[in-house]
Amino acid sequence: MTRRVRRWVLAVGGAGLAALLVAACPALPPFGGATHPYGDRVVHESLARQTANTIASVNFDQRAFDTLGELGILFASVIGTVVLLRQTRDERRAAPEPAAVSLPVRRYALIVLPVALLTGLYVVAHGQLSPGGGFQGGVVAATALHLLYLGADYRALENVRPIGLYEVGDALAASGYLVTGFAGLLGGTAFLANTLLPYGTFNTLASGGTVPLLNAAIGMEVACAVVVLLARFLDQAVEIEKESGS
């Protein structure tokens, strides 16, 4: 289609959809309304199981099956990216060049790195208590490692980041989540049932039954997945080049 025709189709389609959606907005309950039946039930059940962060309770207990699917998506996209960004027959791997880094940047990166890593782990560990959890903390921890790339160079990063291990870690974390689910089934109730462990004392690290376990599995999976994903993209930018050398 020519650009003009494309714009006409867009104009008609966009206008129609806009009219439909705008007409629907006044029919929605007013913003800030008090009626949230599902939300109220979730808060109730979460407190009954001593989980202070109700969102963690939704993600890792009440709707833990959604998180299982989500874990599958993350896992699939990691394998997918490994497959799509593989070194093809007409490409070769060049050794990354060491690069000069200005001293303030280097100092800053090396000081911040352990702090960021620890923050990530803290956010994962306190997932059932305070805002955050496996997803958020995993991303922070994984990106913390990449401060080495900024502060030193690519080879330093590669030394602390054996990709094969992280791929295995990703898979083991996913298996851990599933095994916890199977334990719920074999323990007599149902798949992913949070009935095996005591619910503990409200607002302590050991509260919430299996919530901390699933949360930790997701934390590990996300951290490993982000490391592998970034590594594949960085490889493309830094190491992999065309055979002919151009």
Partner: protein
């Protein structure tokens, strides 16, 4: 029994995780059998559950069974259609894995497990979507199967067409999924629930349909119809299915697209069919109009392809149109017919793709013109290919024939003409290919169109061109065809399918689909028409070749992401306009 429902998801996912955990040490000779065993085990589980699905299984994952009718958990529904789709997806995954046994070229170095792992994840996503009783959960597994499908479609990254097709597939389908999520958010806002049945009740409690109901309906259906490749949401399909590796094509055309149609049936039947939903007349109008358009556009475009995989992809579009008409008719008989048609079609279409894969790996081409007369020696493959084409036409007693006949009878009148024409034209195109490629019949076809995708100079998917066709590659299509034949010919199957579908549907009246004289005659008519069209096209290329009036239609299929997204928006508007009258009155 119902406690086992989540395992349909957990088992293949665990298999995939273990294959990746095996990592670099896992040799290919172990990875592929493990993939097959896990896939087969899941298929067996799906079949066992299917045989126990009357009355339908209901499972609240994590033991969150409702208290006083309210739950905070996720519900899985294992009824006949859901478990049937899960079983179909699992069996096709197994077939694709066996088909690719030891032959599939170049898994990424030191990642021998990645291809079987992705296939198992694909199975995970499809099974999860098939048994989802919660709308958001359905969205999550819908995304899982899509994400895996994008990666698998682009698997042959050295092919320029493959990566472009996969990207188009990814952008258009993701946009559809986000539209669906917007619709889910609207429904949650109105009803405060996520379980499909509860949303339906919530809509009914609120009163008659209004603008919000319509918007939610349009958004959710846009996501599902993009997947189902209904016109004008269909453009991504030929681009993606023509370039994906053959075993992946078998799954994409055989069951992934049909999942979209299944989703439409499930969502309409549980969410929007009450007095607070969209009136039946409007849904029927919308789906039947889109279905007829899809069938006709798919059939015309199918006829004019020379890239064999692309031709088969358009035939999938055309048949999806027929399925959408069947679902849109909203009668129990049409539902039965569509279910049988989908089962029969899956076997036939996967077998046709499998045969095309053999051509690709033997001759390095999937182009009808370039392959003219070159496959004379592949007699066995020729027989399978022709049988597949006849199955596509709906020749009794193929399952496609029974499904088509039952649906035709249910929709009646002019719509059954659409069924006959679409199945005859698509099957005719496949038969024409068979005559050219396997027999070298008629004059050699000449290149005429400047605006088309050819199938020459394609890289074989095997490490070397095949000199001898491996047994697995011929046994799989033969078994798939036998399965399709069994759906129509084994008397008990149709009764079981009919029972399962009517038990799950809201009707409650039990139906028993069976062959009727009229159905047999219409099936034979389609087959004769297909043979006639193919014979004419082979002997007299001129009047059946490129026609000026198809030129604008072909130009719409431009391969441009912007075009496709613009059409997706236009399609959503069209859907809204078709369903509007019921809201106004």
């Amino acid at each position: 029994m119902n406690h086992l429902l989540p395992l349909l998801v957990a088992a293949p996912l665990l298999g995939a995780a273990l294959l990746v955990a095996g990592g670099r040490r896992l040799p290919r000779a172990v990875a592929e059998p493990v993939g097959c065993v896990v896939s087969a085990g899941t298929a067996a589980l799906a079949i066992v559950l299917l045989l126990n699905s009357s009355p339908p299984l209901v499972e609240w994952v994590g033991g969150w069974a409702p208290k006083d009718g309210e739950s905070v958990g996720i519900v899985l529904v294992g009824d006949g259609p859901g478990l049937g789709m899960a079983a179909l997806a699992s069996l096709l995954t197994l077939a694709a894995l066996v088909y690719s046994w030891r032959y599939f070229d170049e898994p990424p170095r030191r990642h021998a497990g990645s291809f079987p792992a992705l296939m198992l994840l694909f199975q995970t996503g499809m099974c999860g979507f098939a048994v989802a009783g919660d709308l958001f959960d359905a969205f999550v597994f819908f995304e899982l199967m899509s994400v895996v499908a994008y990666a698998l479609t682009g698997h042959r990254v050295e092919e320029a067409k493959a990566v472009q097709g996969a990207l188009t597939f990814g952008v258009v389908n993701s946009l559809g999924a986000y539209a669906m999520l917007l619709g889910i958010a609207l429904l949650y806002a109105r009803t405060g629930e996520l379980a499909m049945v509860k949303i339906g009740r919530g809509l009914d409690a609120h009163g008659g349909p209004d603008a919000l109901t319509l918007a939610a309906f349009v958004l959710v259906l846009t996501g599902l119809l993009v997947k189902a490749a209904a016109v004008p949401f269909h453009f991504w399909l030929p681009d993606a299915h023509a370039v994906a590796p053959t075993p992946v094509c078998m799954l994409l055309s055989g069951v992934l697209v049909e999942m979209g149609a299944y989703g439409v049936w499930r969502v309409y039947g549980t969410v929007f069919d009450g007095p607070g939903g969209i009136p039946a007349a409007d849904v029927e109008r919308a789906l039947v109009v889109l279905g007829v358009l899809t069938g006709l556009v798919g059939a015309v475009m199918c006829w004019y392809q020379r890239h064999i995989k692309r031709l088969l992809a358009y035939s999938t579009v055309a048949h999806m149109g027929l399925f959408v008409i069947g679902i849109g008719s909203l009668t129990p008989e049409a539902d039965d017919g569509t279910a049988l048609y989908i089962l029969g079609h899956a076997g036939v279409k996967a077998a046709l793709f499998a045969c095309t894969g053999i051509l690709l790996d033997r001759y390095g081409s999937v182009d009808e013109h370039a392959l003219y007369g070159r496959a004379r020696s592949l007699r066995g493959v020729a027989v399978l290919f022709v049988l597949g084409a006849l199955g596509l036409a709906g020749l009794p007693p193929f399952g496609t024939g029974l499904g088509k006949a039952v649906t035709e009878e249910a929709v009646g009148g002019p719509l059954s003409v659409v069924f006959v024409v679409v199945s005859a034209v698509t099957a005719g195109a496949v038969l024409r290919v068979a005559a050219h490629v396997f027999l070298g019949a008629g004059p050699e076809p000449r290149d005429v169109s400047a605006y088309e995708t050819t199938g020459i100079r394609e890289e074989p998917e095997t490490r070397h061109r095949l000199s001898r066709v491996p047994d697995t590659m011929t046994v799989v299509p033969a078994l798939l065809l036998a399965g399709s034949l069994a759906v129509g010919a084994v008397p008990g199957v149709a009764r079981l399918v009919g029972h399962a579908v009517s038990e799950a549907g809201s009707g409650g009246a039990f139906t028993s689909p069976h062959w009727t004289p009229a159905g047999v005659l219409l099936g034979l008519l389609s087959t004769v028409l297909a043979l006639g069209l193919a014979a004419l096209a082979v002997s007299r290329p001129e009047p059946f070749g490129e026609q000026p009036w198809t030129e604008p239609l072909r130009r719409l299929q431009s391969g441009h992401i912007g075009d496709y997204v613009a059409w997706t928006l236009a399609g959503a508007t069209l859907l809204g306009a078709l369903a509007l009258p019921g809201i106004l009155s």
